[in-house]
């Protein structure tokens, strides 16, 4: 197919590697290591305080899978050449970029940021699909009082898997598809700063998926997504799958974070000063820059958890001198910045769209930047508000209450920017426009309930209840996912060259938003009544609220299915999109559909700010 292949007569190794060789090599490596470790590892001694042989075997096999997969996909070719003292030839680089490769380039180690963006978009939708199915299982099981029809062990595993998979899905939902596809074009660059790292960050996520699926067959993740120790220590082998999954995913996030940050700092077009850099870029950079310190901690916390399980160390095992509080601290030092990793780019995407659909400048660009920066700064100082009731450090409750409540000020700035932009604008009613209103509504409820939770005495009642679950769904789903879906509708014409079906996306929007509010209002209600989180059975008094929540959840499901159909159908048969359907002023709309391999023939020079709408009087 390529001229490159015919020149050499024989297919080069780099051309032979793709997703199939990756899976094959990963599976072979895992099986070999599994058999070897089964045969060679000594049995646990009778007197050992912990039995670790099975965990060693599982973790070693998963590591082998990981190395095999990454070798099979071709991630090691370039480093290998470099060790040999050579670099990739121009043709090989072009092959890597997926030049003239058609559909095949989506299934191999392709470095073109647009391919990576589409890959991220598809994997995000797959993740939400699976996470959504798990959510429906949970809600169906909780449809009526008393135990459901799912075995408690399976139920706990569904809850844990739903949690972690949705967290991963929401982390990548904006910075993955749009941060990779749109961001480089928006700043007027030809590609990311490190295209191979870009491909690496995507394929790491695929590599990570297998341990998570694997975990389901060896005991599941029955600890919730937070995998607190010592519960994680006594959990079945599925926990090792969780640990591997997090380690590989954290690697992916770190790689993507370094890449995106460098790209934005170094590769903005000439004339794109920080004042002329679109707010979405700030959101993406803030998100990944926040992930950069957070995810190494997550990685470390899981390495330590794995060592406790497989090597008999005692970082978290109180009986042997460790502390579960250590795990909680490490986990939430990642966990709280992480919610802003999710939220900031979604809100920034809506701030990007607000001027386009109100036909006026973004209100207070500087305040928006300050708000984003303020949230980033404060969000690393609030982690222990998850631990008010843990007993770890009662004296720190007050300072953490202070930092947590302070976050409402920069968050308020983001609200100010959005309502300021809506004020006296000429509204163009589209799904993204309505999404701004939906975000204001949902995120307002999520934010205010967050203030109740930040208050220590109120948290003594609310902590660990369904109220918390409803609160973070309001922020991450009602805020974050709403922004991500709006971003999909907004950038769909550029990414696919087609317009998204208007009628269906309207219907999907209303169904998901109404279903969402019904579902999580019901959940607030049972939370205030006193229903704990993560229970598979509940008392009779909670049955009304839970039934409402389940009905709402089914409404969301229908809405999401319509959205999925609308995306697939429009992608395949939609009407061709013009170059700039929204008449927006940012750079991504100045390139043709489909976007050429190198985006710009001549790199653009920016001479005005991207929000110059409105008539001056």
């Amino acid at each position: 197919m390529t001229t490159f292949a015919t020149k050499k007569e024989k297919k080069a190794l780099i051309e032979r590697l793709n997703i199939f060789t990756a899976f094959a090599l990963g599976a072979i490596a895992a099986i070999i290591v599994w058999r070897l470790s089964l045969a060679l590892l000594p049995a646990d001694s009778e007197s050992a305080p912990l039995f670790t042989r099975e965990d060693k075997i599982t973790l070693l096999s998963m590591i082998a899978w990981f190395i095999g997969f990454m070798t099979g996909i071709g991630a090691l070719i370039a480093p290998f050449r470099w060790v040999q003292g050579k670099d990739l030839s121009h043709e090989e680089n072009m092959f890597y970029a997926g030049k003239d490769m058609g559909i095949k380039r989506y299934f191999r180690y392709t470095t073109d940021h647009k391919v990576v963006g589409i890959q991220y978009l598809v994997i995000t939708m797959v993740i939400f699909g699976i996470g959504g199915i798990l959510a429906m299982l949970i809600r169906t099981n909780l449809g009526k009082a008393g135990g459901g029809w799912i075995h408690p062990q399976a139920y706990n595993s569904i809850v844990g898997t739903h949690g972690i998979i949705m967290i991963v899905g929401t982390i990548i939902m904006v910075t993955g598809p749009f941060g990779n596809y749109i961001m480089p074009i928006m700043i007027g660059a030809r590609d990311m700063a490190f295209p191979r790292l870009n491909a690496l960050s995507f394929w790491l996520i695929v590599a990570a998926a297998i341990p998570l699926i694997w975990a389901q067959f060896i005991g599941g993740i029955s600890t919730g997504w937070s995998a607190y120790n010592p519960l994680a220590g006594q959990s079945p082998l599925g926990m090792d799958g969780y640990i591997m999954f997090i380690c590989i995913f954290a690697l992916s996030t770190m790689v993507a974070g370094a890449n995106i940050t460098t790209t934005v700092v170094r590769m903005r077009a000439r004339g794109m000063t920080w004042n002329r850099t679109p707010i979405f870029i700030y959101g993406v950079v803030a998100s990944v820059a926040l992930a950069l310190p957070a995810f190494p901690v997550f990685f470390l916390s899981q390495v330590m958890s794995g060592m406790d399980r497989a090597l008999g160390t005692s970082f978290y095992n109180t009986a042997l001198g460790g502390s579960g509080w250590l795990y909680e601290n490490l986990f939430w030092i990642m966990g709280h910045p992480e919610v802003y990793v999710i939220l900031i780019p979604a809100v920034a995407a809506l701030m990007e769209m607000a001027p386009v659909f109100t036909r006026r400048p973004l209100f207070s660009f500087n305040v928006a930047v300050m708000g984003i920066a303020g949230i980033c700064g404060l969000s690393v100082l609030v982690w222990a508000h998850h631990m008010y009731m843990s007993g770890w450090a009662p004296l720190l409750s007050a300072p953490f209450m202070l930092t947590t409540e302070l976050i409402s000020i920069p968050t308020g700035m983001l609200f100010l920017v959005l309502i300021g932009t809506l004020w006296r604008g000429r509204l163009w009613m589209t799904v993204p426009t309505l999404s701004i209103f939906a975000l204001l509504w949902n995120f307002m409820i999520g934010g205010i309930t967050g203030i109740y939770l930040s208050d220590v005495p109120a948290d003594a009642f609310l902590h660990g209840s369904m109220f918390v679950t409803a609160h973070f769904h309001y922020t991450l789903m009602g805020g974050g996912l709403t922004g991500a879906i709006a971003a999909l509708v907004y950038w769909f014409p550029k990414m696919t060259g087609k317009m998204i079906n208007k009628r269906l996306s309207w219907i999907a929007f209303w169904l998901t938003q109404i279903g969402f509010n019904v579902a999580f209002m019901g959940m607030f209600f049972v939370g205030l009544q006193g229903q704990p989180r993560r229970v598979e059975a509940y008392a009779e008094i909670f049955s009304k609220g839970n039934l409402i929540t389940t009905i709402g959840a089914y409404t969301i499901m229908i809405g999401m299915l319509i959205l999925l159909y609308s995306v697939i159908d429009s992608w395949r048969n939609g009407q061709a999109a013009p170059m700039n359907p929204w008449h927006a002023k940012t750079l991504e709309w100045t390139v043709a559909n489909p976007v050429p391999l190198e985006n710009f023939e001549v790199l653009p020079v920016v001479t005005s700010d991207p929000y110059g709408y409105g008539r001056s009087k």
């Binding site: 010592p230 109180t318 207070s364 305040v367 004020w423 604008g425 000429r426 205010i448 208050d455 902590h463």
Partner: protein, 270 residues
Amino acid sequence: MSDLRSPGQDYFQSKWWKRKDVKQVIVLWIVITAVIGYFSSQFQFWAMGKPASETMENVINIIITFTWASSPVAGFVAAIAIQALFQRGHYGDNPPPEAEHNISSSPRATATFLIISALLCLFALVVGLIELQKDDQALLDKNAIHINVTGQQWAWNYDYPGSAGVRSNVLHLPVDQPVVFHVTSKDVKHSFWVVQMGVKIDANPGYVTQTVVTPNKIGSFDIRCAELCGLLHAYMQNKVIVESRSDYEKWLGSQPDTGHTTWTAEGEIG
């Protein structure tokens, strides 16, 4: 001179409060604030039910206070959103004409917004700190009785150190008497939650944590585990029976000595 000013300042230096849209927003703001505050607080009262201790009364008060304090903020955002939503909708494939202004900032509006949100934030903090201080002092109450709580997969056990080795799995408490709970766990992390009394503290293996409450209603209330603790977490719940002093003494006297006297009143593992 006017060329040097940003359009935003012009806008604010005119009689902006006489504008039609400003008046609409103000009316909407007042109405929505009242509606949100009223219905949210009713929703919360309804859901949380009757408190069984002063601590829980305070929790409800804090939540209602925060609701009323934040409803003007929510009302303001909603008022602007609704005003925008119903003013000038434009449907179609092409954009509407550009807005008739290009105001890109307003230092005055920003400053006002920031000052008000900082004040509200300070208010929330002070409310929380006052209540936190009360709870901390209650732990030192000399009149309190002490009860040791042990969580294990998947039940709670209560030791009454003042008595001769009484252990129960349904908690009994005398009414109007401060109780300090010393909470620990035998296996994994649990969270000891006396629902209607509004207190909760995690049960950590190897550590003892404290919380305090004074039940002020006679009756039977719920205790649930609020931290996922494995297979039967959902079933790790039981009742607390609050009774009169004499009933409590009678119950305590009727219980057999189970020999669980390894804990001191301070809750340290002896």
